[in-house]
């Protein structure tokens, strides 16, 4: 009988293992408890800076005449409290970074020339953050088209607003969510002609039409990040930052659709590395995430088994042919 007790037990164990494997990722994601109630500086921020900068409409009062009027807060000066206290910089006081004349109000004219810290200014050359290689990221960024085409006017902040920064790849459980948020960063400017029109005189084309050479472009754009094709691949840092010109972007399908897919060094790098090291390519990379790429997700077992069977068929046919060639004439000779 095919379905005996042992085979049923093995089947149940296999199913349980598969289900447990999918749940394991959820357990290993570490969340840091954040929020205004946890911050030592929340009250201070709330009673000072956020009185104005935490509101879309703020009130300004002339202390001499006592006159008040309402003003709209400029978008780039507005801070969303919720998003800030969910960011990695949630525990900071506003004045930790905005220290050049912001303590007094009205702010002095010098504040208009605030330096504006970049990531490297706090995280560079600090052993605490050595694993993230900020120095290498900064070096890559300085070679990127964003830096070279804008004479350095472009900064980390255009993509990574420190008020709201969260490390996507390390904190989001879902690959698709990661892709969506990453691409939102690019599309914030590249999908908005009003913004792009301010920085380039080139004729603007929309993002989707430029990607119509891809089969099923919508599916491609939802499955990979812009930077997977538009940055120079760098295995040594988590996310490559050397954004290239559009002409240099990946446009050969097999760059992704092959066993040595560049996606293993870009998009799937963080999610895959640990499980790949522990479970091998097939189980670790394919079975542990939602990704699927034709050509890249080849099952070595199926390929090898298929090839062995084809080989055996050919060997059998060859041996059979030899017997046909040898035995028949010998038989005919004896019969005659």
């Amino acid at each position: 009988m095919i379905l005996n007790r042992r085979s049923i037990t093995v089947f149940i164990l296999l199913v349980t293992a598969a289900l447990a494997g999918s749940a394991q990722d959820q357990d290993t994601v570490q969340k840091v408890t954040r929020g205004a109630e946890m911050s030592l500086f929340a009250e201070d921020n709330e009673n000072n800076c956020l009185v104005c900068h935490g509101r879309l409409v703020y009130t300004i009062t002339d202390t001499v005449s006592g006159l008040s009027r309402k003003e709209l807060m400029a978008e780039h000066n507005f801070i969303s409290r919720d998003a800030f206290y969910k960011s990695v910089h949630w525990s900071f006081s506003c004045l930790d970074c905005h220290s050049e004349g912001f303590k007094s109000f009205p702010h002095a004219i010098e504040t208009r020339f605030e330096t504006g810290w970049g990531c490297i200014d706090c995280h560079g050359y600090d052993p605490t953050y050595a694993q993230y290689k900020f120095e290498e990221i900064d070096a890559e960024y300085q070679k990127s088209i964003h830096y070279t085409a804008t004479d350095g006017a472009f900064s980390c902040w255009q993509c990574h607003d420190a008020h709201y920064y969260n490390p996507l790849a390390r904190e989001t459980g879902s690959g698709r969510e990661n892709i969506l948020k990453s691409n939102e960063m690019c599309l914030h400017c590249h999908g908005n002609p009003d913004i792009m029109g301010l920085v380039t005189e080139k004729e603007l084309t929309m993002v989707l039409p430029r990607h119509e050479w891809l089969p099923d472009p919508d599916r491609h754009l939802a499955a990979v990040r812009c930077i997977d094709c538009h940055t120079r691949m760098n295995d040594s840092i988590l996310v490559a930052h050397e954004v290239m010109t559009a002409d240099s972007a990946v446009n050969d399908c097999a760059d992704c659709h092959s066993q040595n897919s560049i996606l293993m060094g870009t998009l799937y790098k963080y999610a895959s590395k640990e499980s790949r090291d522990q479970q091998g390519f097939v189980n670790g990379v394919i079975f542990s995430n939602d990704s699927y790429v034709i050509g890249a997700n080849r099952s070595k077992f199926i390929s090898l088994t298929g090839m062995i069977i084809i080989g055996l068929v050919l060997v059998f046919a060859g041996v059979h042919t030899v017997f046909r060639v040898i035995i028949k004439p010998v038989k005919r000779y004896y019969e005659s």
Partner: protein, 206 residues
């Protein structure tokens, strides 16, 4: 004296030729996608392989549908009706003949006749390929062309990945079938007589 039987009417021959050509294209492009590599000159360029594979897959589905109708409405279908009773014994007899009796000069246990186009081994493999492997290949192939209809997860695994692996396994089965089919075809009255019959329509008894 040898007898000839008209086993391959025009529509079967046309279908078979189309089937053969499309399967060859599908196998070459299928392997090219499976072993895609920008540095490998032996495989068809990925983008081209995908396009050719998709077009040939659609055409093969159409050609298969015509074959199904042909089998439903002509006498060709009777060759694909398996008689389960005594099948194991018949398969053993035919296998014994291929492995041993053939070399001893024994007569074929199930020679070609007016009513019999396939021996039991051929019949089982053709029924398996035509009524199971190919339909499953079409279902999984079409599903991969429209992946939004595939279950996202099945038993904790990616549905699209499982569909693809099943498609690949079935593809390997077709390749294995093709090699056996070609080799067995050389075991007719003469090594080329069966190839001649699929062109002329007339099969020589053996």
């Amino acid at each position: 004296m040898s007898h000839n039987f008209y086993h391959y009417p025009v529509w079967v021959r046309l279908w078979h030729a189309m089937n053969a050509i499309l399967c060859l294209f599908l196998i070459v492009t299928g392997f090219s996608m499976l072993y895609a590599d920008p540095d490998n000159a032996l495989v068809v360029k990925f983008q081209r392989a995908v396009a050719i594979h998709n077009v040939c897959g659609v055409l093969l589905t159409i050609s298969y549908t015509l074959f199904l109708f042909g089998n439903l409405f002509t006498s060709n279908g009777r060759h694909y009706l398996l008689n389960i009773k005594g099948l194991g014994e018949r398969l053993w007899k035919q296998g014994y003949y291929y492995a041993y009796g053939y070399f001893k000069g024994e007569k074929a246990p199930f020679p070609v006749s007016g009513d019999r186009k396939f021996n039991p081994l051929q019949q089982v493999s053709y029924v398996g390929v035509m009524y199971f492997v190919l339909p499953m290949l079409f279902i999984t192939g079409w599903a991969l062309m429209f992946p939004e209809f595939i279950l996202k997860k099945f038993l904790g695994l990616s549905g699209i990945f499982l569909t693809d692996q099943f498609h690949v396994v079935l593809g390997f089965l077709v390749v294995i079938f093709l090699f056996i089919h070609l080799y067995v075809s050389t075991m007719g009255k003469s090594p080329v007589s069966n190839f001649r019959s699929i062109v002329t329509g007339w099969q020589e008894a053996h």
